[in-house]
């Protein structure tokens, strides 16, 4: 374990910030869209079902967070994954969610889909 026991405050902030960047459905969709490979803003917006402005905004957030790389080629901007660990994070969460809900499904007489906040 290379992590100090009382997490220093600055590290706590950075970790929370990283999670905050990933806490938005639109950004998860964009990252998901990037699983198919690098693409332009318009292409990603289409894949994720977002407006061009909204996609650009969220891509900017992901880029400033260091999760994406940007490459401008002529008139278009190519975004690509800069930190592949985000996929590992998402997979871990998906596994945990699957475990949780399968556990729930084993307990509840399920009347309907468990989705609904």
């Amino acid at each position: 374990m290379s992590i100090p026991s009382p997490l220093p405050d600055p590290l706590v902030e950075l970790v929370a910030e990283r999670f905050r960047v990933l806490s938005e459905p639109a950004r998860i969709k964009l990252l998901d869209a990037l699983r198919a490979g690098p693409a332009s803003v318009g292409e990603l917006a289409a894949r994720a079902g977002l407006s061009q402005q909204n996609a650009s905004k969220h891509l900017g957030v992901l880029h400033s967070a260091g999760l994406l790389e940007r490459a401008r080629t002529g008139n278009t901007a190519q975004y690509a994954i800069a930190d592949p660990s985000v996929f590992t994070l998402c997979e871990l969460v998906c596994d945990a969610l699957r475990d949780r809900y399968s556990a729930l499904q084993a307990v509840i007489p399920p009347p309907q889909a468990p989705i609904g906040r």
Copy 2:
């Protein structure tokens, strides 16, 4: 890869929600405090440097998210980690952050600590 390619919307929501729960420094501190083992609200509040009400509130959030287990014994409430995967998540983020900042340190003539938003 057991994860569908265009992530279904409900799953996207759940993943984002999980990250949102982890996107708060106070909650990261509480989880960090729980690395030393289960403890009462007051104890955790002290460890994390939070007020009792604030700690209770955030512990409630973590509990509703399924990350913590609650056990009331007499007058006190014992909270414990229910989903150890959160630690894996935090370690992954810490590693990624370390990589990122070491990469930055290799580029920048570092005048000072790179922490500072």
